[in-house]
């Protein structure tokens, strides 16, 4: 059985390699590696493992970025395509996460740099020439290829499936997946894939990637703070882009509460590196709360008012004045998106910053919803209201108001994640305000929200332990 699996596994890896080789030049890289002797490789392997997890300076020259790409290709080729699993232990528990994280980070910053040069024709002709001639270095298919291959090799999806069924993952791990090195790389490649799909703008595929990981259970990633944090940021962001604001708020709140409660235990260096993402998530919560007003956890609420109080107020007022605030917060808090295709160096003006691309599409949704806060604030004051009279208050035509009412009504119905796949959920009414129209008469009902005591009780109880 296991022999069959390996063959199958091997053939999938081979397939993917063939599919991507001709379009991304990975094939040449693989050739180059095989010409090195095995002895050379084992000699320096420990130092290469350590080097792969080391951050590359952001301002490193282009040649160094190319070299770094080559050494990742070599290392992954060695790990994936040696004769049988390589007999190595990861240098530390964090190592596998650090490698995948750094690999994607370099891919991301390389892509941003390339895009910037392609857009500014007078800048750095030498680098432009090198980039033009090597469109496939740090190509997104190579990066995806590595992540998928690591996932396949380690049988991590099968292992996680077994764990979900309360079975021993080792029985399905295969020759490779039994080893820590492969299991950890495979596992964090899933998180890596979540991130890369999101960076490329495929938000539903990003969420689908996590199907094997149970977010609400004690997940393996939670042991590495940076991984835990990153996962929730990308899951929350993907939800926001799928217009599932209630779920986005839930994800951001979950991790922000966790950070605020554990910050005393976190090592300082680790904590510093997440401070920026922390602020970004507050900005995203501000956006989501404007779309979907909800009661936040007290800690989050207080911090949000401190950091983005003014902006939140403007967002909650809605209307055209809120649009620049949405743009400002989105740009400050979105991931550094990557274009799925290499830029066109011959037509600088044809290259669009992918952030502007995604922002523009998101702003369509913002504009569609921008009157909802105003409409809701009026509806809250009445139990019945004449549509034409309300249109008069708002100084709009009755037809416009009907549209606003429909839009707002449609957006209060949202899919809400329960505990299945992240893309699934239950359709629920996410607002406490509901209404229905009888001709021009609007019937309004507001749900009374009882006090939520459990959270308050638990937090105060926890305090007595300290």
């Amino acid at each position: 059985m296991s022999a069959y699996d390996e063959d199958y596994d091997e053939s999938l890896v081979q397939d993917l390699k063939e599919q991507t080789a001709f379009e991304d030049g990975m094939g040449e890289d693989l050739e180059r590696v095989s010409s090195m002797t095995m002895a050379q490789q084992t000699d320096d392997i420990q130092s290469r493992l350590a080097a792969a997890a080391q951050p590359l300076d952001f301002s490193a020259p282009l040649a160094v970025k190319f070299e770094s790409y080559d050494s990742y290709c070599n290392l992954f080729h060695f790990i994936l395509n040696s004769d049988g699993p390589v007999d190595l232990e990861p240098p530390s528990y964090y190592w596998a996460w650090d490698v995948i994280d750094e690999f994607i980070y370099q891919f991301n910053s390389f892509s941003s740099y390339r895009m910037r040069l392609a857009r500014q024709p007078r800048d750095n002709e030498e680098d432009r020439q090198i980039l033009r001639e090597n469109p496939n270095t740090w190509g997104c298919y190579s990066v995806l290829n590595v992540l998928y291959s690591l996932i396949q090799r380690s049988q991590i999806s099968e292992q996680l499936g077994a764990m979900k069924r309360n079975e021993d993952p080792m029985t399905v791990a295969g020759e490779y997946g039994k080893k820590n090195l492969y299991r950890m790389l495979g596992y964090f490649s899933i998180i890596g894939l979540l991130r890369v799909h999101c960076l490329l703008g495929d938000f539903s595929l990003a969420l689908k990637t996590l199907d094997d990981i149970e977010l609400n259970k004690k997940a393996m990633f939670a042991r590495v703070m940076a991984a835990h944090f990153t996962t929730y940021y990308y899951v929350g962001f993907s939800y926001m882009m799928m217009h599932r604001y209630a779920d986005a708020i839930r994800m951001f709140s979950h991790i922000l509460v966790y950070v605020s409660r554990t910050k005393n235990f976190q090592k300082n260096a680790q904590y510093d590196s997440i401070t920026k993402k922390n602020d970004q998530m507050y900005a995203l919560i501000a956006i989501c709360v404007a779309f979907h007003p909800t009661r936040l956890d007290d800690t989050i609420h207080t911090a949000l008012r401190e950091k983005y109080g003014d902006q939140l107020l403007k967002l909650q007022r809605g209307g055209p004045e809120s649009l620049p605030i949405y743009e400002e917060l989105f740009k400050a808090a979105c991931p550094k998106f990557i274009s799925p295709v290499p830029p066109d160096f011959d037509n600088p003006e044809a290259n669009v910053d992918p952030i502007d691309h995604h922002l523009a599409i998101f702003m369509d949704e913002v504009k569609t919803n921008m009157w909802s806060p105003t409409v809701k604030s009026y509806l809250r004051l009445y139990t019945t209201m004449d549509l034409k009279k309300l249109a008069g208050f708002l100084e709009v035509q009755p037809e416009e108001l009907r549209s606003y009412l429909l839009v707002n009504k449609q957006r209060t119905k949202q899919l809400r994640w329960t505990d299945q796949s992240l893309l699934d959920g239950e359709w629920i009414n996410v607002s406490d305000l509901d209404y229905a129209m009888q001709g021009d008469l609007i019937h309004i009902s507001e749900a009374k929200v009882g006090r939520k005591l459990v959270d308050w009780y638990l937090r105060n109880l926890a305090r007595t332990y300290n």
């Binding site: 993917l16 379009e23 490329l200 009504k409 229905a436 129209m437 749900a447 009882g450």
Partner: protein, 239 residues
């Protein structure tokens, strides 16, 4: 999500989109045939269509540009549009390479996409009367939706369904504009397709869960599991 994973999807499509085949340019033909089937049989599988959209737009730049068929991209977008108000249309836009969507880009495809985007914005904004006016304003629109069987009827059915979620009664004149029909045709649509009654020019929408707007009290659901951590901690610390 609307139009995401339809029951009609055959197994061979599932195996493409759930595996590494989704990156194989050879899968384009199969996915194009499947898109054609969706257009003819009036269902929508945007999960598969996004796979096709990525393969074909990325192919434009990387493999052979002549392989790219503009109508594949526009048909996918029109199918996505019929799933309003779900975010299918914007999810599809997000994966189209930025340079095609740029306000400055010229050519037939960018123009077609920006036209479709305007239509979708009107549907998303519940400006249904304006949607029909836009659709009639340019012959290009008729070309763009030509491959999608029953496009207008699909839009009408969704519009009527969404209206029924918000209205208990609605003037036939208003609904007619939203359906892009004159009053006689709208009356026929309402009574025959939707099966609703019309009294004194008011369409009577049957009660449903959405148009009741019932008063409700939201209470906190409390269960034992919420306390499991604190109980365990008490246990562990005393042990």
């Amino acid at each position: 999500m609307e139009g995401e994973d339809p029951q009609e999807r055959p197994d061979y499509i599932s195996s493409i989109i759930n595996g590494l085949e989704r990156y194989n340019p050879e899968a384009v033909g199969t996915l194009e045939d499947y898109l054609r089937a969706q257009c003819e049989q009036r269902y929508c599988d945007m999960n598969a269509n996004r796979t096709l959209l990525k393969l074909s737009t990325n192919a434009r730049y990387q493999l052979n540009p002549d392989r790219l068929k503009d109508e594949v991209i526009t048909n996918i977008l029109v199918k996505a549009m019929t799933c309003f108000p779900s975010p299918q249309f914007s999810l599809a836009l997000h994966i189209i390479p930025p340079s095609i969507l740029a306000p400055t880009s010229r050519g037939e495809l960018p123009e077609a996409i920006s036209k479709l985007r305007e239509l979708d914005t009107q549907l998303q904004g519940a400006q249904y009367a304006r949607f029909w006016a836009t659709l009639d304003s340019d012959d290009l629109y008729a070309d763009l939706v030509a491959d999608i069987d029953g496009f207008e009827e699909l839009i009408r059915i969704r519009t009527a369904t969404l209206a029924s979620h918000a209205f208990r009664e609605i003037e036939i004149s208003v609904l007619a504009e939203w359906l892009g029909l004159d009053e006689a045709a709208a009356t026929k649509f309402v009574t025959e397709t939707a099966g609703w009654k019309i009294e004194d020019g008011q369409v009577k929408v049957p009660r449903n869960a959405e148009n009741e707007a019932k008063k409700a009290e939201v209470r906190e659901d409390v269960n034992v599991e919420m306390f499991s951590r604190i109980v365990r901690r008490a246990w562990e610390e005393t042990a």
